[in-house]
């Protein structure tokens, strides 16, 4: 057996299969760990031809098949005769499911090449799915960053590698994480935020997020079962449904707990349970705990019966703030049409969602940074997960109509500002907290100028300024156009 290279010089693309008239037909049993088939083939045929037959029968691609007979791997270029495969004998078959391992499988030149000690260092040995190459957020310095909640939420930390690099950003993330850890309520509030729910309805996005977290990667390396789980789309969808709906989640947990306790009553069951726990659940929980700060999946968490804080909170600015939730495609279709109120044109509601997540100091500093540095915004926006968020935003017509303000559209810097405003709205949709970025404040200077020119209607001034994004001249045009002078 001189074949070392794995190429099959003797096989061209001949279509002659087991119906070959030369040689007698033999029946060979092909056995996988799961089932077995009997395949009739000419006894003179080559391994490649044999594989062709097998690939049809087993519905697998030829290069996914690895055949073993008598302890040796059958190479495509060999013949059945060479290995002594005769009628009635059994050949073992392994169907490689992961595509990347097929190369490694056929390059295992073990048996026949007893004289070729090649060290084929081919592929990534771990069973981690190929999604370990991150989604388009670029390089992954995330592994060097301290574990971060937001890195579980989509590898925002790698944005720093994209050139944002603002140290404040990372600190802000840390702050957020710390807050989250100290306040378990926050987690349920995050989940309730329609923005987050929107994100979670996209299974690919979620999967990407989970997979790019370096801790999850480690976990997956150690437990191939987890990678199986993540690769199963049905399961992912189910899990996400659960995550989105906390009530359903609790119900599920209760059912599961009941089932588990039933298991316990079977003799020997308790030990099995304990084994299961230590093998699988512990590492998963500890990884999850690091991510989420507080373990949301722990069955021991007591039921939270408190009603969540009233999102349409304190009176006065309720209609305008609901406009800010235009980010969601849920029930806010009417809310999206709310006209800007005098004091709060952009719907950045100061008292918005009360103790919403985005009222945290971290979020506020983020927004400050964003307004100061439009470039930051651009960078954030170009991340793919942001795109999907933006897509769902775009579906909301109200928001889109804002962006189409003609005067603003012609002026690029205005455009940036417009974009910024939209972003701010999005975040503020979760609750503006005690944001001090009301347009009133921002346009203070312009307002003063306008009032000095004689436009005494402050409300109208402000509206015009908002509409034109701070451009005084355009605002004046507006005012003159609308005023029945």
């Amino acid at each position: 057996m001189a074949e070392n290279s794995g190429t099959d010089p003797t096989v061209d693309s001949n279509v002659v299969e087991n119906a070959a008239s030369d040689g007698t037909m033999i029946v060979v049993t092909v056995k996988t760990p799961k089932d077995k088939e009997e395949i009739a083939i000419s006894e003179d045929s080559s391994v490649a031809q044999f594989k062709e037959e097998i690939s049809k029968r087993f519905n697998a691609k030829q290069d996914q098949l690895v055949l073993i007979f008598a302890g040796k791997i059958l190479k495509d270029g060999d013949t059945l005769n060479q290995h002594g495969i005769k009628d009635g004998l059994t050949v073992h078959l392994v169907i490689k499911t992961a595509p990347k391992t097929t190369v490694g499988g056929t390059s295992q030149s073990s048996a026949s090449s007893s004289g070729t000690p090649q060290a084929n260092s081919s592929i990534n040995p771990s069973a981690v799915p190929n999604a370990s190459t991150t989604p388009g957020t670029g390089p992954t310095p995330a592994s060097t960053q301290p574990p971060n909640l937001l890195s579980g939420f989509g590898d925002l930390s790698s944005l720093s590698g994209m050139g944002m690099g603002s140290a404040n950003f990372m600190e802000m993330q840390q702050q957020m994480q710390r807050q989250l850890m100290s306040n378990p309520e926050m987690l349920s509030q995050i989940m309730d935020n329609p923005l987050v729910q929107n994100m979670m309805s996209n299974p690919d996005l979620m999967r990407q997020m989970i997979v790019t977290n370096p801790q999850m990667q480690q976990l997956m390396e150690r437990n191939p079962e987890i990678s199986h789980m993540l690769n199963n789309p049905e399961l992912m969808r189910q899990t996400m449904e659960l995550a989105r709906n906390p009530a359903m989640m609790q119900e599920m947990m209760r059912n599961q707990d009941r089932a588990l306790s039933n298991l316990e009553s079977i003799p020997g069951g308790y030990n099995a349970l304990r084994r299961m726990y230590t093998d699988i659940q512990e590492p998963m929980f500890s990884a999850a705990r690091e991510q989420f700060g507080n373990n949301p999946f722990s069955p021991s968490r007591t039921e939270n019966r408190e009603p969540l804080p009233n999102p349409w909170g304190p009176p006065g600015t309720s209609p305008s703030e609901s406009r800010g939730t235009g980010a969601s495609t849920t029930t806010t279709s009417s809310a999206g049409g709310t006209a800007p109120s005098a004091s709060n044109p952009l719907g950045i509601n100061a008292s918005g969602l009360g103790n919403g997540v985005f009222g945290s100091p971290g979020m506020q500093s983020l927004m400050q940074q964003i307004s100061e540095n439009p470039q930051l915004m651009q960078n954030m926006l170009s991340a793919p997960y942001m795109r999907s968020m933006m897509q769902s935003l775009a579906q909301n017509p109200e928001l889109a109509s804002q962006g189409s303000n003609p005067t603003a559209a012609t002026n690029p810097s205005q455009q940036q500002q417009q974009l910024m405003q939209q972003m701010l709205q999005m975040f503020a949709g979760g609750g503006g907290g005690s944001l001090t970025l009301t347009p009133e404040v921002r346009f203070q200077q312009q307002l003063d100028q306008l009032s000095a020119m004689g436009f005494i209607n402050r409300e109208a001034n402000l509206q015009a300024l908002i509409a034109t994004g701070g451009d005084i001249n355009a605002a004046i045009e507006r005012l003159l156009g609308s005023q029945p002078s």
């Binding site: 760990p33 008598a70 073992h92 391992t101 490694g104 295992q108």
Partner: protein, 162 residues
């Protein structure tokens, strides 16, 4: 494949009072021929395979084995090739087993793939009713042990060179 059936001397032990042998030791080559046939017929669950390294080997000494990595372990989807040497005293004496494909497994020497006889119970407590299949299956079982199933493995396709 032609193999001469050379008989090694039969030691008939444990005769009863009438002189009839109670327990016969099967000659080595008969045993090995039997194992060869089993290997070709795929006896077992299809997760291990074995056969002669060289079909012309009259002494039936050098064998090749293959273990398919058990699922849900780090060995999943890989195939491990082994060399098994059945000495002249087989099956009274256990065979020598060594991995050809690089593997990180407790009981296998990292440098050359030799399987430590004391680490594998089938080898340590060898009985003449054991066979190559038993050894291979035991090694596969070891791969599924908690202490082994998550050991980081060298890249696929590497083999020991010594």
């Amino acid at each position: 494949m032609v193999v001469g059936a050379r008989l090694t001397p039969i030691c008939v032990k444990n005769c009863n009072a009438a002189g009839f042998p109670v327990c016969v030791k099967v000659p080595r080559n008969f045993r090995l021929l039997e194992e060869l046939e089993e290997g070709q017929k795929g006896v077992g669950d299809g997760t291990v395979s074995w056969g002669l390294e060289d079909d012309e080997d009259m002494t039936l000494t050098r064998w090749r084995g293959m273990i398919i990595g058990p699922p849900r372990t780090i060995y999943e989807n890989r195939m491990y090739s082994l060399k098994v040497e059945c000495g002249p005293r087989y099956p009274e004496a256990p065979p020598f087993v060594r991995f050809v494909t690089k593997i990180n497994l407790n009981g296998v020497h990292n440098s050359n793939g030799v399987v430590d006889t004391r680490a594998v119970s089938a080898l340590a407590k060898w009985q003449n009713s054991y066979s190559i299949r038993v050894v291979l299956q035991e090694l596969r079982r070891l791969m599924m042990c908690k202490e082994n199933m998550k050991l980081p493995q060298p890249p696929e396709g590497q083999i020991y060179t010594n």
